[in-house]
């Protein structure tokens, strides 16, 4: 018998109140009550012990009679979707005496009272649920009474392919048939296909050739494994391929080379310890510790299920940290969202029949913000660092960046902690969550709606607590005993990728696939092997330690299983109930993909530089600028992200009394050391409309400049590159890419800030239909996110953006040029222009070195690195942060006031200096020509720019905070 337990919350429930409030905003007076529902067919589910354990007697009632409502709306999960609440309920059921394989499912019931139509409820349900992963059930009070309540639903996965084996795939076919296999997937017996392999014909032919030589056909599992291993996602073929006359490709020819040259030049002062070779990059923190950093993107999943995409992204990149070297402890999270304007709702569809609309920008924004919140907060990792960038072209494919910084002792048991290698004979142990059909062919979403009963495979939801238990057991308890030789995470490609990569160390592996624990029976071997089920780590464990490892993890509530052995046979070998289903050479698997030379073209974009009339009212102009999406406050994100867990936050995401949303954070990760980790980033997607080189250089410059401004030591600063490109099969887009890569090579080498890790996502295009059924393609602007990670020698020397005292002098450092192309100011006027900011790394470096000396000598009271909205936005943010007035005179800049205020020239820092430090400060910059004393912090409540504007700080504050205040 199936038991359904409804736990009704009291009238004052915060979740109910928030929904009432949201509905009120839409002009509807509704009373809402919330019930948490648990469904299980375990006999113990009816026991009072279990029901009591689910009910808080002060605020909840179990199985009360539900009345006094007009509509009932229930939202539950579809079969196979991660149900974390259900898992916890299942553990409570175990405490009540049920066996540990009991199943329990959660759902949430809303009871609504008010004047509402069925359509209102349907609209509401769409706003608060996602039909890709959730089921919705709506009943009027009459229906509810007639049916005796809501329906009892048990969303169990039922697969009908029990006893599945590996199938042979016939590759003795024509080229066009090879293409069909690649595009649609391996054919099933019933004529359906398993989903795209995504390999080019060239690759398919190489596979065909290989197996011809072997004298046999591949199994489905072998073919799927090759497709995973050779995918753009795993091999980064575009960055690796020869391009024009660069035989080494962009990655080796520019990015890796930059790091190599910088390390050689710095010699003994090299800060790099592990670059590009592991799940994250690492630099020296101090004599005892390394810090690691990795930034990932999770764009496609977030377009479909923003919450699921973002939470899987953040807990996934946490595993990159846990999987660095012998295992680094996650100490800080980063986030970054590139989105369309949430106040708009452009109408686009994925299908020609116009039945499958894209999600509205506001829904995507809420979802991705919440996803990182849930993942980061529940994992106990502070998330102080991030940004949001808006452009209408992120409408179909948002960019979702997630990153994690780790801390690891430089030596563990006398060995370098960043070194790991699976040894022949080591046992393959998989720890964490079980394997389901989650994320199979995750990279290639089908737009087919999922029907009831079929497991939702494309979309995944992270389970941060399962991962937290595993992470704590490994990093905080096991790591320092040296029980394993190597560890890595299961991300894209699942076991095929984690075991495959680690086996490159030993020289082969043998996996007994039937030993892998499953969420539900009936999965085919190839599905188990490439499933991207989350929260799993793979370890190489010497045989004598296996029992201890598994036992320890079990004592922490974490399942771990030995599934095979690392070998030195040179073969990738898998058996399924003793029958061989994969036997391939490691060399072919990892290096068998043919080279694909690329060619490029490049055309500079942009329009003519306009001749504009000067604004008549600068007060109004500045208010408009401050309320622009790329300039306004994103405080609502910072306050819901736990940014001070671990007790290490020193300079947070909101600065000053006026709580300005800052670009840079400082964290003190080791209580016994005064050093701080300085994090920042830079990106300017719109600059690509004119020149991707300028875009990329400006991003790197800002990432460096932000960190330097806050007090980071330029000599101990590293970079991460994340390219999010579009249409990377077009020569022109590749030309834009090459130009961007050349630009960041030059600037990084100049600044001597090495790249330590990077990732790319090359096809951020939305292909679909507009509301009239016309085909549309919306490409995200080519975007480089440059992230910086550095060290400040003592947090006492940290510099915030907030001015500290009336009477302090205001200095602008760096040259302001007529560079408004693709700026926020031009965009406000709907103009693109031509003069995109060019970055002069040589000039900037001169300033940064001088600035570094001044900050070490503590001569600077506050600093802000200019970015979107230029000097005007910077002055306003300083005034808002301090809630103090400023008297400013910009005549020394020799530019028309709008250009002086809103030019986005790079390389500039706005600082305030205490009068008693002014002389030393000027002496420090002696001989530097681009230092401008432009005014002082005034005992007024206004920002005054002589002959230009005069406006109350309170008005600026309001404009800055109004735009996103309702999210």
């Amino acid at each position: 018998m199936t038991h359904r337990i409804e736990i009704l919350a009291h009238d004052e429930d915060g979740r109910a109140k928030a929904l009432e409030h949201a509905l009120k905003g839409k002009g509807k007076n509704v009373e809402v009550r919330v019930a948490d529902v648990y469904t299980s067919d375990n006999e113990k589910a009816a026991s009072p012990e279990f029901v009591i354990s689910l009910t808080n007697p002060v605020s909840q009632k179990a199985n009360a009679k539900l009345e006094d409502f007009d509509w009932a709306l229930e939202i539950g999960f579809l079969p196979g979707v991660t149900d974390n609440i259900g898992h916890t309920a299942s553990e409570l059921l175990q405490l009540a005496g049920a066996s540990n394989d009991n199943e329990c499912y959660s759902s949430r019931l809303y009871l609504l009272k008010g004047e509402l139509t069925k359509q209102d409820i349907e609209e509401l349900s769409e706003q608060i649920s996602n039909k890709l992963i959730q089921r919705i059930s709506i009943k009027s009070k009459q229906e509810f009474d007639a049916d005796g309540g809501m329906d009892v639903v048990v969303p169990r996965v039922l697969l009908d392919n029990l006893g599945a084996k590996a199938d042979e795939v016939d590759l003795n076919v024509t080229d066009s048939e090879l293409e069909v296999i690649s595009q649609k997937g391996i054919a099933n017996a019933d004529g359906t296909h398993r989903g795209p392999l995504g390999m080019s014909l060239l690759y398919m032919q190489a596979v065909q050739e290989h197996f011809k030589k072997e004298g046999r056909n591949p199994t489905d599992l072998e073919l799927e494994t090759i497709a995973q291993t050779w995918s753009e996602h795993c091999k980064h073929t575009i960055f690796a391929s020869p391009i024009d006359d660069v035989a080494e490709g962009l990655y080796k020819g520019y990015i890796k080379r930059a790091t190599k040259e910088i390390r050689a030049k710095k010699g003994e002062n090299d800060i790099c310890v592990s670059v590009f070779s592991d799940n994250a990059g690492a630099i020296i923190f101090d004599e005892n510790y390394l810090i690691t950093d990795k930034v990932e993107t999770h764009n496609s999943p977030s377009a479909l299920d923003p919450f699921g995409g973002a939470i899987t992204g953040i807990v996934g990149v946490n595993r990159d940290c846990i999987g660095f070297g012998q295992g680094a402890k996650p100490i800080i999270n980063r986030y970054g969202f590139c989105l369309a304007d949430p106040s708009t709702s452009p109408e686009y569809y994925r299908d020609k029949a116009l039945t499958n609309p894209i999600l509205p920008p506001a829904t995507i924004m809420r979802g991705v913000v919440e996803g990182v919140e849930a993942g980061g907060n529940q994992s106990g990792i502070p998330t102080p660092q991030g940004f949001v960038n808006f452009d209408p072209r992120f409408v179909g494919k948002p960019l979702v960046f997630v990153g994690t910084i780790g801390l690891i002792p430089r030596q563990i048991k006398g060995k370098d902690s960043h070194v790991k290698c699976a040894n022949p004979g080591d046992v393959i142990v998989v720890a964490g969550g079980r394997v389901g059909r989650d994320g199979i062919h995750g990279a290639t979403f089908s737009s087919v709606a999922l029907d009831e009963g079929s497991p939702a495979t494309a979309v995944q939801i992270g389970d941060p607590i399962t991962q937290k238990k595993m992470s704590d057991a490994i990093i905080k308890e096991m790591r320092d005993s040296g029980l394993y030789s190597a560890i890595t995470d299961n991300g894209a490609g699942g076991l095929s990728s984690s075991v495959g990569e680690m086996a490159e160390g030993s020289g082969g592996f043998h996996v007994e696939l039937e030993k892998v624990p499953l969420k539900y029976p009936g999965m085919a071997p190839w599905e188990i092997w490439i499933s991207e089920s989350q929260e799993r780590m793979t370890m190489a464990v010497p045989p004598e330690n296996v029992k201890r490892v598994i036992k320890h993890l079990a004592s922490r509530g974490v399942e771990a299983t030995a599934i095979g052995t690392y070998t030195d046979t040179g073969r990738a070998h898998i058996t399924w109930d003793s029958e061989t289903i994969m036997d391939m050479s490691m060399d072919f698997l990892h290096d068998g993909n043919p080279e694909t030379p690329l060619t490029t073209t490049f055309t500079r974009g942009g329009d003519k530089e306009p001749e504009l009339a000067e604004p008549e009212n600068y007060n109004e102009t500045l208010l408009q600028m401050m309320s622009r999406l790329n300039i306004c406050s994103k405080e609502f994100i910072s306050t819901q992200y736990d940014h001070n867990v671990q007790g290490t936050a020193c300079l947070g995401p909101l600065q000053g009394k006026g709580r300005v949303y800052a670009e840079t954070s400082i964290t003190r990760p080791v209580f016994s050391s005064p050093k701080g980790v300085v994090l920042s980033q830079g990106l300017f997607p719109r600059y690509s409309d004119i020149d991707t080189g300028a875009m990329a250089a400006a991003g790197v410059d800002l990432a460096v400049r932000n960190a330097i401004a806050a007090g980071a030591d330029l000599n101990q600063l590293a970079l991460l590159d994340n390219f999010c490109w579009c249409s990377s099969d077009e020569a022109e887009r590749l030309g834009q890419l090459k130009r961007a890569v050349e630009a960041i090579y030059e600037i990084a080498v100049k600044y001597e800030t090495p790249f330590i890790s990077g990732k790319d996502s090359m096809f951020n295009d939305f292909k679909g239909f507009d509301k009239d059924g016309n085909e549309v393609k919306i490409s995200a602007p080519p975007t480089l996110l440059a992230s910086s990670i550095g060290v400040i020698p003592h947090v006492e020397k940290a510099i915030s953006l907030t001015p500290k005292a009336v009477g302090d002098c205001v200095f602008l450092l760096g040259e302001t040029k007529d560079e408004l192309g693709a700026s926020e100011y031009y965009d406000q006027l709907d103009i693109l222009g031509q003069n995109v900011p060019e970055t002069n790394a040589h000039e900037n470096l001169r300033l940064y070195k001088l600035y570094g000396r001044a900050s070490r000598d503590q001569l600077i009271a506050s600093a802000y690195a200019l970015n979107f909205g230029g000097l005007g936005a910077a002055l306003a943010k300083k005034a808002i942060a301090s809630q103090m007035g400023m008297d400013i005179d910009l005549s020394a800049l020799n530019l028309r006031a709008d250009k002086a205020l809103f030019s986005e020239s790079t390389g500039r820092i706005l600082v305030t200096v205490a009068p008693q430090n002014k002389e030393k400060f000027l002496k420090n910059f002696k001989g530097y020509e681009h230092i401008y004393e432009i005014g002082f912090i005034a005992k007024t409540e206004k920002l005054n720019v002589k002959n230009t504007l005069d406006i109350e700080v309170s008005k600026l504050d309001e404009a800055y905070k109004a735009t996103l205040k309702d999210y």
Binding site: H10, E12, D13, G14, R15, K17, A18, L19, D36, S53, L54, N56, P57, V58, S59, N84, I85, H87, T88, E91, L92, L95, S106, E373, N377, Q378, S379, G380, P464, I465, K468, K469, S555, R556, G557, S638, T639, Q640, Y641, D642, N644, V645, Q646, G647, T648, A649, C650, L651, G652, Q655, F671, V795, E796, I799, T802, K804, A805, Q858, A914, Q916
Partner: protein, 270 residues
């Protein structure tokens, strides 16, 4: 107490608790001997409680807040450790639950424990009125006599929670007030009562309650995080404070408001 050996604090961990390391650091900083103990290890060897003077349940997200924050962890503790816990609090010991720990103590009924009767759930610590996680700095006024709170008047420390709203029926609220078991309330920066106003009262807690004690004052359940405001460099206004100190030629105190709670524990066992 033995004057030579420092008192011993056990700090619980596991199942998603996540503030155990900084909480341990706080106790060690004030001279206590501290050890982190996974819940399952304590269940395996509950006699350890007999050698401890302080039990701390730190902040975190046990069981992901599923089925109600702190609920599942409390259910597990109650089932496996209840007798030992009762004996522990009956001795002259100190117990603190911070944030998730506060929610766990409430679900266990170790607070409010009216008339020494532990185990009754009469307080709910539930969803913030904003239905959103709130990570922000707040001001507290200490209201109750408790060994943990001796000599403290106000504190500027952060909250970070999604379910921090103290709720109870009127009778319970009255009893808490009459027995002086309301440990601390949220106030506006000017020192006046927050009176439910967001963000000074960050979650809509009845009576602006931020923490409560049992009727001995030795068990403290508090939502804000003293260990995240124990050093001056952790403060949200650190940049302003250090600039001012530098201009005035002063040196900043290393410790900040939150440390006093841990110092009080050390003093109690001296």
């Amino acid at each position: 107490m033995n004057n030579t050996a420092p008192a011993k604090a056990l700090i619980l961990a596991g199942y998603g608790l996540n503030c155990e390391e900084e909480t341990l650091h706080a106790f060690e900083h004030v001279g206590l001997q501290g050890e982190i103990r996974h819940l399952n290890d304590l269940i395996e060897n509950p006699k350890e409680l007999q050698d401890a003077q302080v039990l701390a349940i730190p902040g975190g997200f046990s069981y992901g807040d599923d089925t109600g924050s702190g609920n599942a962890f409390a259910q597990k503790m109650k089932l496996a450790l209840w007798d030992h816990l009762q004996k522990f609090v009956a001795r002259d010991t100190l117990t603190i639950g911070i944030c998730n720990g506060c929610q766990i103590l409430s679900n266990l009924g170790l607070v409010p424990g009216f008339e020494g009767k532990y185990g009754v759930r009469s307080i709910a610590v539930t969803h913030n009125l904003s239905a959103r996680y709130q990570c922000r700095w707040i001001d507290l006024k200490v209201q109750a006599p408790s060994p943990w709170l001796n000599g403290i008047d106000r504190m500027h420390i952060p909250v970070a929670h999604g379910e921090g709203r103290f709720m109870m029926d009127e009778e319970t609220l009255e009893k808490l007030q009459n027995n002086r078991q309301i440990a601390a309330t949220y106030i506006a920066p000017d020192g006046t009562a927050a009176d439910g106003e967001f963000p000074y009262n960050p979650n809509g807690a009845y009576g602006d309650i931020a923490g409560i004690t049992d009727d001995t004052g030795r068990v403290l359940a508090i939502m804000p995080h003293p260990e995240r405001g124990m050093f001056t460099w952790q403060r949200d206004d650190y940049m302003e404070l250090k600039d001012k100190a530098q201009r005035e030629g002063q040196t900043l105190e290393e410790d900040s408001d939150g440390m006093a709670i841990f110092s009080n524990a050390a003093k109690y066992f001296k």
